[in-house]
Symmetry: C2
Subunit: 363 residues, 2 copies
DNA sequence: CTGTTAGCGCTTTCAT
DNA sequence: ATGAAAGCGCTAACAG
């Protein structure tokens, strides 16, 4: 019905620029089409379809509206609704680099929870290797592409101070420069799980091989480790390196070179873990005979390695879900503060941990 | 400036439902605000800011408009623009399960390319373990949340026939039920890379351990392998299993139990690879002494395993980029067909491959 | 109970 | 070279 006619095919010099060509008209219909078919006003249809509780509707047309909407496969235009209501129903999730499996789990939790709460998620990956300051993503909200920002990119560096004023946002797995918007896990408890276990087995000198200092998660793990080790009178060596296999290898080499060599170490990321295990192997050190190893990332591959590696499981999916809830609270201007996700967390014992090697000082 | 007043605080029974509360007004301004400040009509501002080539503008106002827009940090409202132009500037990417690292690389390529072309990407992960038919995502376009669909979920099962009529979409790393919308890699060439190398080293009986049959990628690899092995007179065993560590372990056990045991095998996914290596180790078979192993997924961890594993690198980021280009072509109604991404692909030799073990039948 | 009216912020003919 | 006006599809305040 209604034949399309192009007003002037190929007339004029630069006519018909390909850019803004309208899309195919969605085959479902508009509110007004349903209204027309049923013979009521569009606003009536809107009310019925939105279940407006204000007034009751004559049951007969109520049914008719619902039926024709269903028959014609009516889909509300999210754009028009969003324009009117000033909310897009979308969240933007900014992730540093997708390689580390923790982001995958975190992303999964966030996607699920967002979907449960009626939001879609746009994922942005930090482009290139230069981490942008968190404020550089506010345009997403200012342009009404998203209602709020999930930020997993902020670093402990001056360039990232300033935060994201006036735009709903939370920092995920990081503490941001502006307070009160953090959703993090209990890193001190995680590192304590490792240290308690090591201490119980008799280790007195331990290491933490982790990512760069500027990453807040690393910073928190490291300070907790220092504090706990001081309390317990344990020796602690902290080694920072890139969160890659090479980084793990290089940090391990540094640790062995530097001596005295610790007897147990925790490794901050799965990627580093591969490098650590390889470096120990290459140095002729056995795991756990000469060195006990615990991964701070749990992963399904760990039980299948040549030496199955113990790990601390962190509640990553829960973190993602909590971050979405926290962000939505801010979008709805509900009172909200920092969130710490504690559960579930546990130490999974595999074969990479034992007591320290017997040395001269042993009885 | 303009004090907000609530018309009737807490009046009426169910007043002030929290749901549709409007968001903070974006602090940048609207087109009309700029127009007002400069003293011109809103349509003039629109033309200038969009670089409308139709007519020239008085240079003086042109400058004034540009300046005030910059000063006030003007951001166009993507919603309003999209509503008018009937294009959202968003793509939806539907991924089966984020665990397998190939999706991470693919997603990265897609995100980058989309951003280059002025689109944002919404990522949807297939919920639960029940793969939805591809058509179940068309609502995203029908509701004007996205202009098109990147589908990585379609399976070779009857429930998924039917495709996604009338909605711009491409299948990524899969062939879909409707033809002409596929963006895939050259799986036959990949598997040939493995088979050529194995044949050259003298292997006569090889295996392919891969995911479930219903996955199109698996199906293509498997048929190519059968064809090539027939040509070459090689023995081929194909084992399907879940694309997990357990799946790899279980398939390997099946292969060893079944005999005669092949002397080389390719493994379809990184997750399976860990299971395969563990199962071989547990059976007392050495790699590559008793069994040569090649991973069909390249990953940075492979060189760091106890036996560094050879692999075929696939052009995953390029696949993601090509898929975005292909989808945008469909959105813009440009002529387009299936796409095969061939480059770059290569066999990376590490230590998990050698000649077959010397047996009785050797001279 | 339901229709009228007035926009949300932007683009886009069509007139000047 | 610029302004006026219409309208994308929907919601919501206000009348009847």
């Amino acid at each position: 019905m209604g034949q399309e006619k192009n007003p002037a095919p190929e007339s004029g010099p630069a006519a018909a620029g390909a850019r803004g060509r309208p899309l195919a008209r969605p085959r479902g219909s508009r509110l007004v089409d349903i209204a027309e078919e049923v013979g009521v006003h569009v606003s009536t249809v809107s009310r019925v379809l939105n279940g407006d509780p204000a007034q009751s509707i004559r049951p007969e047309i109520y049914e008719r509206i619902l039926n024709t909407a269903r028959e014609r496969g009516y889909r509300p235009n999210a754009l028009a609704r969003a324009l009117k209501q000033r909310r897009t129903g979308a969240l933007a999730f900014v992730i540093p680099l997708l390689r580390n499996p923790i982001w995958v789990r975190l992303q999964r939790g966030a996607l699920q929870r967002a979907s449960e709460r009626g939001y879609v998620v746009m994922v942005m990956e930090e482009p290139g290797d230069q981490p942008q300051p968190p404020g550089s993503y506010r345009y997403l909200v200012e342009e009404s592409r998203a209602d709020g920002l999930l930020l997993a990119t902020s670093l402990r560096i001056p360039a990232h101070a300033g935060g994201v004023p006036e735009v709903p946002h939370v920092y995920v797995n990081r503490r941001g420069p502006d307070r009160g918007n953090d959703v993090v896990m209990d890193e001190p408890a995680a590192i304590r799980l490792f240290l308690d276990h090591a201490a119980r087995l008799g280790h007195r000198s331990v290491a933490l091989i982790d990512g760069p200092r500027a990453v807040d998660t690393v910073h928190r793990r490291q300070s907790a480790a220092r504090r706990i080790c001081t309390q317990r009178g344990m020796r602690l060596t902290v080694l920072h390196a890139e969160a890659t296999e090479e980084g793990g290898w290089e940090a391990t080499a540094r640790m062995l070179r530097r001596g005295p060599v610790p007897t147990a170490c925790a490794v901050g990321s799965l990627n580093q873990l591969f490098g650590v295990m390889a470096a120990l192997r290459a140095s002729g050190l056995s795991v756990p005979g000469d060195m006990s190893v615990v991964s701070m990332d749990e992963d399904e591959c760990l039980p299948f390695l040549d030496v199955p590696v113990s790990s601390v499981t962190m509640p990553l999916a829960e973190l993602g879900r909590a971050a979405v809830d926290a962000l939505i609270a801010r979008i709805e201007r509900k009172p909200a503060g920092d969130v710490m996700v504690r559960e579930p967390m546990s130490l999974i014992i595999r074969q990479s941990v034992s007591g320290p090697p017997q040395r001269a000082e042993s009885p």
